[in-house]
């Protein structure tokens, strides 16, 4: 069982690590690349806490192997904004109280980013549909929906929702 080299561009930076083929992407991100913003909730591709963008699409990183995405572009919650300079999605969650404990929030925000990437004027129903792959056990979903709607309004004038060039 040979270790393999996996290289990804993550949040705009090229990173490599030698890993076992069985290493899950979520462990690769958290343990090999030390980006612990991506959380593991259920570990069975249901809760969506581990959601990240791979090549422009939201996926659950607990149900992917790191080797499968070798050469891909990944964006995690760390790729959104910083504490000093919040991404509009983070600002919206802050302002609309879109979280309580915050555990699921990185995944919820990445799912919402995926939605807004395709539809910057989503209705409440479209937001709920876009968030079908994430589970929050604290807040109920109303504040999350409000936050995503607010984020969409904050980004109304922007051409790019996430990634380089934003």
């Amino acid at each position: 069982m040979e270790e393999v080299n996996v290289t990804v561009t993550i949040n705009g930076k090229k990173r490599s690590a030698k890993v076992e083929p069985r290493m899950l992407l979520t462990h690769f991100i958290r343990d090999s690349l030390s980006l612990t913003g991506t959380h593991i909730g259920c570990d069975t591709s249901q809760c969506g806490s581990c959601s990240v963008m791979v090549d422009g699409h939201v996926v659950k990183s607990c149900t992917l192997l790191a080797v499968q995405v070798d050469g891909s572009e990944i964006i995690t919650v760390e790729g959104l904004g910083t504490v000093q300079n919040l991404h509009p999605m983070q600002k919206a969650f802050w302002e609309e109280h879109g979280l309580q404990c915050g555990y699921c929030t990185p995944g919820v925000m990445m799912a919402a980013i995926g939605l807004l990437q395709e539809n910057l004027e989503p209705s409440d129903e479209e937001i709920r549909e876009g968030l079908e792959g994430v589970i929050c056990r604290c807040t109920g979903y109303q504040f999350i929906v409000s936050a995503v709607k607010h984020a969409a309004a904050l980004m109304a004038e922007e051409k790019q929702v996430v990634g380089e060039g934003r």
Binding site: M1, E2, V4, E20, P21, R22, M23, L24, H27, D43, T44, S45, Q46, G48, S51, H57, V58, V59, K60, T63, L64, L65, V67, Q68, A111, G114, L115, G130, E132, G133
Partner: protein
């Protein structure tokens, strides 16, 4: 959860896949999107010694029209199937079903080829595939082969896919121009899988008689099946409420329906009938 150790190799072409399978002495397992296989590997239900990744083989992508059929590449994701204009125009029941698989993250990775070749009793796409008389195009040791979907599913996770072969594309029949179609699904409230999923393709002639009926049912039985008893009961008849209700009562007859913790056999049989009746009725004006 971490799978057992395995070797990983990325296949460059369909021939390469077959070669790798042959060389693996039965240890090789194909991984496409991995959304059915990896969960099983994480639970160590299965522990293949070698994973053969087919996800970057260009010829497994794409959708094309070929006379009266639509050919869909095995590596098309559920999302791509749900959004593809050719599929939406000619075999919309397939895109309707693909849109109801899992959630958006899962639809971004899971593939049509994997969904069918895995042979999971609760996969969605076998239902529309049966209703669209799908043929699986297979590459193996002896070259190309075609297997009809009806008879492909032998048991839970067991299919007629020959050893050392790979599903490269799936060919769906375009129904007659007068036919309408629907996929109706009763979601398992926790997993989102179909407790029952019914795909109906139905044509009614100018005299108001059913002249084309194909029904595929998934989720409830050991394997997905064609509800031929219902089809035979409907063909040539006027689709009155009574006719539909009577025919739908036969919806579980062609399946091997069992009980589990969530639903008893009696309940599942009833769901098959109710969802078949509703799916058919939804197509009438």
């Amino acid at each position: 959860m971490i799978p057992s150790k395995f070797d990983y190799v990325r296949a460059e072409s369909v021939e390469h896949v077959v070669q790798l399978l042959q060389d693996s002495d039965g240890e090789g397992k194909i991984i496409a999107g991995g959304h059915s296989l990896l969960p099983l590997m994480k639970f160590r239900v299965t522990e293949p010694g070698k994973l053969i990744d087919i996800s970057r083989i260009p010829e497994l992508k794409g959708v094309r029209l070929e006379r009266d059929r639509v050919i869909v590449g095995a590596m098309m994701t559920h999302r791509e199937v749900a959004e593809n204009p050719i599929i939406k125009e000619h075999i919309p029941v397939l895109s309707d079903a693909a849109r109801l698989v899992g959630d958006i993250q899962i639809r971004n990775r899971g593939t049509i080829g994997g969904n069918i070749a895995h042979g999971d009793a609760v996969a969605d796409l076998p239902a529309p595939a049966l209703a669209l008389d799908a043929n699986l195009i297979i590459s193996g040791e002896d070259g190309l082969d075609v297997i009809n979907i009806d008879g492909f599913f032998l048991g839970p996770l067991i299919t007629a896919l020959p050893e050392n072969s790979v599903v490269t594309s799936i060919s769906f029949e375009i129904p007659p121009s007068n036919a309408k179609s629907a996929y109706l699904k009763y979601f398992h409230p926790a997993t989102g899988y179909p407790v029952v999923g019914v795909a109906v393709v139905l044509g009614v002639n100018s005299d108001g008689l059913a002249d084309y009926v194909r029904i595929g049912i998934t989720g409830s039985g050991d394997v997905a099946y064609r509800a031929k008893s219902v089809e035979q009961e409907l063909i040539g008849k006027p689709l009155t409420e009574d006719v539909i209700t009577q025919a739908s009562k036969l919806a579980a007859d062609d399946g091997d329906i069992g009980s589990d913790l969530f639903a008893s056999e009696t309940y599942r049989r009833n769901l098959c009938s109710v969802y078949t009746r509703r799916a058919i009725s939804s197509l009438l004006d």
